[in-house]
């Protein structure tokens, strides 16, 4: 029989920025109570308080929005990448997993899941430039770090898949929202805008 053990440690050894800290939960339950979100996330156990985590959530979402626009992918792909990221951090800690790397990986996977594929090389470069947009020398460094970035995303993809238990089905609220607005005959543009962007 074939030998098949996933060795978490071995994966983590290669990654410089992502470390899976514990055996991943294998269930596919993505509903959390307020208490779980506020008090029981993996980041909380690592000393990151609720407010900090909220801030990090905002950071990776705006990063993904920007990254998606740079890559010219549809909003659905961006929304899916955000959901993957949310799911990841309900099971892994921010302290051990750099959010910019994780978010880039989430975008890579979301592009595949939503059938709007982007080349790994392209994604690696665009994401790197975005992460270091404050640093004018970053674009010169890309050639040196190119292969390393690509490898990191590939390792991260497996970690992400394990962490979210290969559950890639995401139901976005956009469709139901449109249906609800129609049914309730809501035409107030401002309200619609707020609901859509929530």
């Amino acid at each position: 029989p074939m030998q098949c053990y996933i060795s978490q440690k071995e994966i983590a050894k290669d990654a410089t920025v992502i470390h899976i800290s514990e055996t991943p939960h294998l269930n596919r339950n993505w509903y959390f109570s307020r208490k779980e979100i506020e008090h029981n996330t993996p980041s909380r156990s690592d000393g990151i308080d609720y407010k900090q985590e909220q801030h990090l959530r905002k950071l990776y979402c705006s990063f993904l929005q920007e990254l998606g626009i740079e890559l010219k992918v549809p909003q659905v792909t961006i929304a899916t990448s955000m959901m993957f990221c949310h799911r990841f951090y309900m099971r892994q800690s921010h302290k051990k997993n750099d959010w910019q790397t994780v978010a880039t990986v989430c975008m890579f996977l979301a592009c595949k899941a939503e059938e709007t594929p982007r080349w790994l090389g392209e994604l690696a470069v665009v994401a790197y430039k975005l992460i270091y947009k404050w640093d004018p020398s970053a674009s010169r460094r890309i050639r040196e770090i190119y292969d390393k970035q690509k490898d990191l995303i590939l390792i991260g993809e497996r970690l992400l898949l394990i962490t979210i238990a290969f559950d890639l089905n995401i139901e976005h609220p956009y469709k139901s929202l449109v249906a609800a607005l129609k049914r309730l005959a809501i035409t107030d543009k401002e309200l619609v805008k707020i609901a859509w962007n929530f």
Binding site: M2, C4, S7, I11, L109, A113, W119, L120, F166
Partner: protein, 286 residues
């Protein structure tokens, strides 16, 4: 992967295993791929679709496991032992009961109409991947060849692995516009086989398959399949055959069944009955 113990190798990349947590037997399918773009997008899509599909007549994807050492991914399915081919061989008498055939056909059509409603084409329905639980006569299908949505279906041939006896004529002529109708044809072939206990269109090779179909269903003409001569430029090399009487070939099937069989095996895919329509056929009314 420590959750599963391997028991036996079924074929290349396919294993029988045991889930150590639930003691359930499972089928493990190991999929390898080059790592340069990570997990292939088609596999991501496949996993997404298979996980979303929940139906009593479709073999369920229980789990997906990352297999780090061999850089592959393992799909874990619920396991069933008896496929239709061996079921017919082991229980020929049960298969002679018209009610059994009706019940099994109904279940294949239920599965097909379910995934067709998602615009998914199975692409490889055949007795070998149609499983039956002899205790309950529950039928489940598996092995979606290319479980993908139809909008990108004209790039690859979904029937590379399909036993050619069950291939629809539009695939044999390499018509690139596949639809859910190819599955309906395969179901028709299985229907006839359940009655007679041998394949209806059993040619000696894939090359002869089309001629075999024409010899029974009749060579298509402008009336029976408008535009066929444009799709298939080798039509002229085939002898002109008149359709044979299915009642004589599929003996023992009631008239309503023969009528349904004709509709499932309608040559022009545009005129073929859909799985959903087939379920409402008179054959199932009593």
């Amino acid at each position: 992967m420590e959750k599963y113990k391997l028991i036996a190798k079924i074929k290349k990349g396919v294993f029988q295993g045991l889930c150590l947590l639930s003691s359930q037997t499972v089928t493990l399918k190991q999929l390898g791929f080059p790592d340069n773009e990570g997990v292939p997008g088609s596999l991501i899509k496949e996993i997404t679709l298979l996980q979303a599909m929940r139906h009593a007549n479709i073999i369920r994807l229980i789990d997906v496991v990352n297999h780090q050492e061999q850089s592959s991914i393992v799909l874990v399915y619920e396991s069933m032992e008896t496929n239709l081919t061996s079921f017919i061989r082991i229980y020929p008498k049960v298969m002679k009961i018209p009610r059994t055939i009706k019940e099994l056909l109904r279940q294949i059509l239920l599965a097909a109409s379910y995934y067709h409603s998602f615009n998914i084409v199975h692409g490889g329905i055949k007795p070998a991947n149609t499983f039956i639980d002899p205790a309950t006569n529950t039928l489940k299908i598996t092995d979606f060849v290319w479980p993908r949505t139809l909008f990108n279906s004209n790039t690859e041939d979904p029937n590379e692995e399909l036993g050619f006896c069950y291939k629809a004529p539009e695939i044999l002529v390499e018509h690139k516009q596949f639809s859910t109708a190819i599955d309906v044809w395969s179901v028709g072939c299985i229907f006839a086989e359940m009655v007679t206990q041998k394949p209806l269109f059993s040619a000696t090779s894939e090359f002869h398959q089309l001629a075999k179909i024409f010899s029974i269903m009749g060579t298509p003409s402008e009336e029976t399949w408008p535009g066929f001569s444009r799709i298939y430029r080798y039509l002229h090399i085939y002898n002109h055959c008149k359709p044979k009487d299915l009642r004589k070939l599929v003996t023992g099937l009631e008239p309503a069944g023969i009528d349904l069989l004709h509709k499932l095996l309608y040559m022009d895919p545009k005129g073929r009955i859909t799985a959903r329509q087939a379920l409402e056929h008179v054959y199932f009314q009593n």
